[in-house]
Amino acid sequence: MTELDPDLARDGPELTGVELDRRLTAAWRRQPGLIGWLSTTDHKEIGKRYIVTAFVFLALAGVLGLVMRAQLARPESGLITADRYNQIFTMHGTTMMFLFAVPVMEAMAIYVIPLMLGTRNMTFARLNAFSYWMYLFGGTMLWVAFVLNTGPDAGWFSYTPLSGPEYAPGKRVDIWAQMITFTEVSGLAAAVVMATTILKQRAPGMTLAKMPIFAWSMLVVALMIIFALPAVALDSGMLLSDRLVGTHFFNPYEGGDALLWQHLFWFFGHPEVYIIFLPATGFISELVATFSRRPVFAYPAVVVSLCATGLLAFGLWVHHMFATGLPRLGFAFYTAASLTVSIPTGVQIFCWIATIWLGRPQFRVPMLWVIGFIVTFVIGGLTGVMLASVPLDLQLHDTYFVVAHFHYVLIGGAVFPLLGAVTYWFPKATGRMMSEALGKLSFAVTFVGFHLTFFPMHITGMMGMPRRVYTYPAGMGWGTLNMISSIGAAILAFGVLLFVINIILSFRAGRVAGANPWEAAGLEWATTSPPPVYNFPHLPAVASRTPLWDEGEGLPVTTGLRVDDRELLSVTIIDAIPSVREPSPKPTIWPLLSAIAIGVTFVWSIFTPWALVFGLVPSAIALTIWFWPKNPDVPPEPEID
């Protein structure tokens, strides 16, 4: 290569390789040190933080699960008091749903999606950072309160009036409701970032119809979050105002209605399940394709199924409320409508199995999780079919049968794929492979432990054990089954522990992975492992759904983005035709400071509504500084020849 013009501001044939890396790194890296660490806007750093935090919450909530299983192992056990138990199951459910399951899916996507789409960062990078801080603060507040014996105790869906001012005095439920506010703000911000990134920042040529299925699932999920989360935010807002300023939304004696809470909550709560499940199906589609060495069978059918599941989810909330005395005329409608969800899910299962059939499967560890997922999740889906039937649900509702059902759906249907996906993308994020042997062992132990824990619960439920009881009398015939479940829980926990150990060991001394250790097809494998701070030296361009398989080493790339400033490529939403070079914001501490100002306001407002007024000022100042444009420290737009 001949001598380089030092002022050359764009990549291209003249500027590539080491010199390009140097300049791009200079443009995209953050400051070193603590302030730099707190200021980062890099989606990879935020994504990793998000994932680690979510797994910490998983571990905490898992420990609570173990404590519950210890208490329930024997009848009339006095290990913990009713009051503590009620806090524990509320914390377990709340943490798992709001602080683990939804955030971890977003977290995985925050890390992977920009790489899959072939872009350098997400849109609204600072909002992305803000979303993480809000999530962290909300979760921390909840757990600090729990440690101080002020943990919520009204169940993860906090039915009114049990959670209302009269029957839940003190601050416990306020903490719960305010945690919802934190996670809503965080989740909605992340959803907007996710949706706009997927719609606007794909590689040139990656039309919506060529987008990776995981990106499709996250697009559907982001839109679902945008539609569903306001319901629970409104609901918890009404609950807070009932509790703090004396409104009567849920007070039947002043014209309110206790069921209004449930309608709004489940309008969110039902889609919530799919918000957790759909990203998992996205993982499965990626894993199945890679390890079957062929694209997923019937891509359009899979994508339409994803969308169908997302759309149907908004019509089904009442099937959590069959026993509340809804008009009986509606029962047949609700049953039929709830059952329709199994069609798109059935289609997806068929397509995955057909992909394995048509391909040449390799049984690496991620693929084992896929098989574990199918074997487990289908049981959860089929018990869901049972629960959709009103006459069956009126018996099974609120028993351990339901507990079994949703753990099959959420662990089998979402955590198994998640662990598979972590194994799959671990080498991309760290540059090292996870151990196959330890991976297989942790899969086997987790799988056995899971079924041992939750399968007996179907029977416990059929034998009449209601959920959310801190103890049960001897002589009901539930003792042995509960003991089996408790032993299973210990094994399950051990399996997850093995997984974590595998992560730690492999992070330190795993086999070094190349750019594309699984020989997969997606763009995230086109860059080094771990990727450079700017993701891709030249933005890739794609012409098919499986670019690396079709193009081999010679993936076409585009040129022309600035290398002396942060620039991203915006494309048209459907056909991915390049349209604008968007500047991308630099790292700044202000999203964190804004999150602190707003977080303090939220927590303070539990104690006095005036906090909303006082907190407005620092919050507004922080947000204004955040959005205030900085002095341009890069030269103005270079000339184009």
């Binding site: 018996q395 509702h397 034998m463």
Partner: protein
């Protein structure tokens, strides 16, 4: 065992549930088997040979699922149109849920025949009973698994359910909606008996409480009917007419104490009266702090309330 199981089929709805359950179980097992066979076959099949018509397979699969779902919907509908629809016979029970006990009223057109009791239900076998469900505080759920499905008790609303117990026997019901601290201890006993026995029970229930006989009982009577107890509890035929706590008129004839928490016997009764807050923490009965001799007397009197 077996006093609180779904497949007990001791009632009309319970039997219909058992049949429908079987249908769903078989159908879902078939589908699970299909998926597993497909998966195993896909993994194990020899790779050479022609591509199967997978696209047609997908269409057939969607067709099969849709038809099956339609069938299950219809099966479900056939059951739910018959559920809760037994002909009305005039027997109505009104149940009000409290944290954490059940207030039960057998209503009658003749107000003098209205029977109030707590934490137990006696039902005539083979006769549909309309149960009216209300709540005094939070949401509870009424559920006798052997006999029928659930129905919630919701403050500000009145729900109802028609249950038809069929098999004579002793069953248990437990609150099925989380209702606070002692949700686990909100159960009651259900006695299904022949109509004649039921009528006898009702007639006996209408009688005022037995008068105390022994001196100890009399001392207990004096305490219970004049001191703290009488402000909350009702004992028919005595000055104790409180309405906010369980009715004690025939307390000792019940099978359990504290809404299904303990079996009824003098030991548990004594423990309860001495310190209700350790027997069932959080319940609304305060610790009175009786002297030992007072406690003896009260328990002795309560035990006599057959």
């Amino acid at each position: 065992h077996g006093r609180q199981v779904m497949l007990g089929a001791a009632g009309r709805d319970g039997s219909m549930f058992a049949n429908l359950w079987l249908v769903f179980l078989i159908v879902t097992l078939v589908f699970y088997a299909l998926v597993l066979i497909g998966l195993v076959w896909a993994i194990l099949r020899r790779r050479e040979g022609g591509e199967p018509a997978t696209r047609t397979g997908l269409l057939v699969w969607v067709g099969v699922i849709s038809v099956t779902l339609a069938g299950l919907s219809i099966a479900s509908w056939l059951v739910d149109r018959n559920m809760n629809r037994a002909p009305f016979t005039g027997l109505t029970v009104e149940i009000t849920g409290h944290q954490w006990w059940w207030d039960v009223r057998y209503t009658s057109a003749d107000p003098s025949q209205t029977l109030r009791t707590s934490n137990q239900l006696h039902l005539p076998a083979g006769m549909p009973v309309r149960v009216i469900l209300k709540s005094a505080d939070v949401i509870h759920s009424f559920w006798i698994p052997n006999i029928s499905g659930k129905q919630d008790l919701i403050p500000g609303r009145t729900n109802d359910i028609v249950i038809t117990p069929e098999k004579v026997g002793l069953y248990r019901s437990q609150c099925a909606e989380y209702c606070g601290l002692e949700h686990a201890h909100m159960a009651f006993d259900v006695t299904v008996e022949p109509l004649a026995d039921f009528e006898k029970w009702w007639a006996q229930g209408l009688l005022p409480a037995r008068a105390p006989v022994t001196p100890l009982q009399k001392a207990g009577y004096a305490y219970v009917t004049t001191r703290e107890c009488s402000t909350c509890h009702n004992i028919a035929g005595t000055p104790a007419t409180g309405q906010v706590a369980p009715d004690l008129t025939h307390l000792a004839s019940r099978l359990s104490l504290g809404a299904g928490t303990y079996p009824m016997n003098s030991g548990h009764l004594a423990a309860w009266v001495a310190d209700p807050q350790s027997a069932k923490p959080g319940n609304k009965m305060p610790v009175i702090g009786l002297e030992p001799d007072q406690l003896n007397a009260v328990v002795s009197y309560l035990e006599s309330l057959k």
